[in-house]
Amino acid sequence: MAKRTPTAETAETMARKQRDISVSEFFLKNRHLLGFDNPRKALLTTVKEAVDNALDACEEAGIIPEISVDIQQIGPNRFSVAITDNGPGIVRAQIPKIFAKLLYGSKFHRLRMSRGQQGIGISAAGMYGQLTTGRATKILSRTAGAKQAHHIEVQIDTRKNTPTILKDVMIEWRPEFQPTGTDGSPGEQVVSAHGTCVEIEMEAAYFRGARSVEEYLKQCAIVNPHLQLHFRAQLLKKEGTAEEPAPTAGEPATPPAAGSPWTTFFRGVNHLPPPPVEIKPHPHGVELGLLMQMMKDTPARTLRAALSQDFSRVSGKVALDICERAGLDPRANPSRIAHRESEALFKAINETKLMRPPTDCLSPIGEEQLLAGLRKEMTADFLTAVTRPPTVYRGNPFQVEVGLAYVRPGDQADLGADEPARVMRFANRVPLLHMAGACSITKAIAGVNWKSYGLAQPRGSLPTGPVVIMVHMASVWVPFTSESKEAIAHYPEIIREITFGLQECGRQLAVFLHKRRRLAEQDRKRSYIALYIPHLALGLKDILDLSDKDEARVVSSLNDLLERTHLETT
């Protein structure tokens, strides 16, 4: 151990090492934050991000969505994932940025209910593919009325967080979809004049069951009844050759004819949900830093105008009130508001009573459609759904919907009477599959006293029974616990709303279970009574020397009596 005094760093030497960290680099190192912690989850996250984007794009453009998800295994741990939609397409200039630049998107800066929020997801998926396979993200896109489609391949320059375009050509391409009936028979092919296809090659693992791609798509179809979804997973034979021998000398990308067929989740309704409206932020949901930024950025020239123009629920009069309370001149230039003054402004805003933010910006699934979705998924003895009125957390409007199904016992193997209830969580129509334990939905469900609704419930956990509980939160800004958007943060307002929804469904369930129990009890009593009726008749026959016919009459009279009065003690 040679004693060597480490050379002390000086400010100058340190300065040489200090440099920018790009978001791309940051997320490359922290890919778990985006949902790419393991190969299995990476596949799901990729599909999820692409489908979310496709749905958002279709809905914004007023197109009834048709989406296909095609997963093809090309190596032991290598998959090619292609998601195609019939959306509006993307103009050439935007394609590289959308797919190969983190934190680029249209949804971050606005307050409007949509699936995507940050503009990270799909480029992160491309980055993950690039990292694990070195392959570029391939995009095909055709806008309405265009003569040809763009074929662009991009990679992300992680240092600079900018796209590198590897290929940029025009090709003949139209999105094609292959509807397939439940029996596997192919239906008529659907060809769209516009749409986008993104194909990413990545290291991944394919699994079935809970938290699988299939489960995600299934749940997606439940909460998006207007979506027609096609799915196919072509896997290599285990322990076999690296690749299946191509039966024909066609393109390698062309699936083998004998490969697994498409599965179609058919559309339930033929109209789009009403488009959500973009709203301005509500003053009570704005933090000090953001308030200062908004004051700086506002195009308004007076404080009063800035307040009433940039926020919802602030009228000119209310803006005056706020200024007065804060001791500020309403005619002051908002960009000149100093730090101390903005603190006073912030305090004044929070002390002022304001109308709650408008809630017409939300687009809930609706009780009818929730029930339809659940019914499609399972045979249930009892279904109920409730859409709560919209309300507000931290100035953000949100709305909770709860669906509950009591499944016919024995019909679904995984829904036993002794199993915990199956929970389906959704945020802005996106299924949440991971991190159930950290989610406020799970917390709310465990917090409800299900025993009073007729279900068993171990202390502090989910109820047990053949029950499916579905919770949807719609909001202009869903507070996820992380960028991978897997769990809803624990806001008391949100948990309270979910609890109310659950309780409403629970009460319906209790009525159903009570009635069912009563009927079962009645049945049991009836058969018990029926057991003894012949004996009573036989005894009377012996004593009164009745004929067989008379004996039969006694039995039938008693049965009539039983039907009529249930022989209840009253």
Binding site: Y528, Y532, H535, L536, G539, I543, L558, L561, L567, T569
Partner: protein, 386 residues
């Protein structure tokens, strides 16, 4: 006509409260009548059939002073056909059917336990435990107003033992020939009271009947031929007296105009269950008490005062929880105890002393103290409890 005459004669013989004899045909008719009502309810009136019978409990009896026994009051229980009663209802009907068809019509007899086993052929309707069939048998007896012995049911328990200066005139069950049994000439044994005693006749020169609770004390008295010395008929009950035993004592006492004295353990069970039941009947069998009671009985001992008088304090046992409860219950609910101040005093004295005493306790002063001193002195003093 012949039967009618004979019946009258029996009534006269029995004297006092006469056991109303019902011939098998009439018993059968009553069963048919009840069944017809049930049948009519079901088939014609289309309503839930029901059975009515008197409530058999201490709460539904009153102490009839004139007759000297517990008489049933009017409270009736109704068993309507419902979910809760359907099994018992069906069982009752089948029990009546069996009674009529197999016992009355065929002139046969059956034990309670035999009937219980007979029900095992009834399928779901069978009795699971004998207490179930016993209860329904009691219900039926109350409903028909005919004691079960007359329906052909014979008790299984022993009726009691008799020794002393008494000749019982019985009959050979097959030939009808009269058989004379001299109960003074049975050596160290005793004559067992049969389950049916209506046909017995008596000849006796005894001065009284002494009824004893325990068999062991009875044995001692027989061994020392106490009955000759005291000129009494000794009857051993072995606990609560059976119906046959009660009926036998009653008939014998009525017939020979003999006083009846009772000697039991000195505890609430001996007072309130054994003695009370012998004298005035029980709540359970309230509907037939008038036949199965001995109103002329008087209580000899052991009384709490005897414990003091005979210095037996160190031969006692502390009262148990159940004893105390029994005594308090009797003071509160038993119409017989409530009527007799002496009995209330006795029970209260016992509760105050907190001890009970057995008949055998007199052995403290010597094995034969009880027959050399206690009984002769008590009989001489003639201070008995009512």
């Amino acid at each position: 006509m012949a039967t009618k005459v004979k019946k009258k004669k029996t009534e006269k013989e029995a004297g006092g409260e006469t056991l109303k004899l019902v011939d098998k045909q009439e018993a059968g008719q009553r069963i048919v009548g009840i069944s017809r009502d049930i049948h009519n309810d079901i088939v014609k009136k289309h309503r839930k059939p029901s059975m009515r019978f008197p409530v058999r409990a201490l709460s539904n009896v009153r102490y009839d002073l004139k007759r000297g026994h517990f008489e049933i009051r009017g409270k009736m229980a109704t068993r309507t056909l419902t979910y809760n009663t359907v099994k018992t209802f069906a069982q009752s009907v089948r029990l009546m059917a069996t009674t009529k068809k197999d016992l009355l019509d065929k002139n046969d007899i059956a034990g309670k336990r035999e009937i219980y086993y007979n029900s095992k052929s009834w399928g779901e309707c069978r009795f699971d435990e004998q207490p179930e069939s016993d209860t329904l048998l009691d219900d039926m007896e109350a409903m028909l107003g005919i004691n079960r012995e007359q329906l052909g049911y014979i008790p299984e328990e022993r009726g009691g033992d008799v020794t002393g200066p008494l000749t019982v005139l019985d009959q050979n069950p097959v030939t009808g020939e009269t058989i004379k049994i001299n109960c003074a000439k049975l050596g160290s044994g005793a004559w067992s009271i049969p389950s049916r005693v209506e046909h017995l006749r008596f000849e006796s020169k005894a001065a009284l009947i002494l009824v004893i609770e325990t068999a062991s004390l009875f044995q001692r008295l027989v061994h020392h031929v106490f009955y000759e010395k005291a000129n009494c008929i000794l009857v051993s009950m072995s606990g609560v007296p059976t119906r046959a035993c009660r009926r036998f004592i009653r008939r014998l006492a009525d017939d020979q105009k003999l006083p009846v004295l009772v000697f039991t353990d000195g505890d609430p069970y001996g007072y309130c269950n054994i003695y009370r039941t012998l004298k005035v009947g029980s709540g359970q069998a309230a509907h037939i008490n008038r036949y199965f009671c001995v109103p002329q009985a008087r209580y000899l001992g052991v009384t709490p005062q005897d414990i003091i008088d005979y210095k037996l304090e160190d031969a006692t046992h502390p009262l148990e929880e159940a004893d105390i409860k029994r005594a308090k219950d009797a003071l509160k609910n038993d119409p017989f105890i409530q009527h007799h101040k002496e009995w209330q005093n006795t029970l209260n004295q016992m509760l105050k002393m907190g001890v009970r005493i057995e008949q055998q306790a007199f052995a403290k002063h010597g094995l034969n103290f009880v027959l050399d001193h206690y009984l002769p002195e008590k009989l001489k003093k003639k201070q008995f409890l009512p």
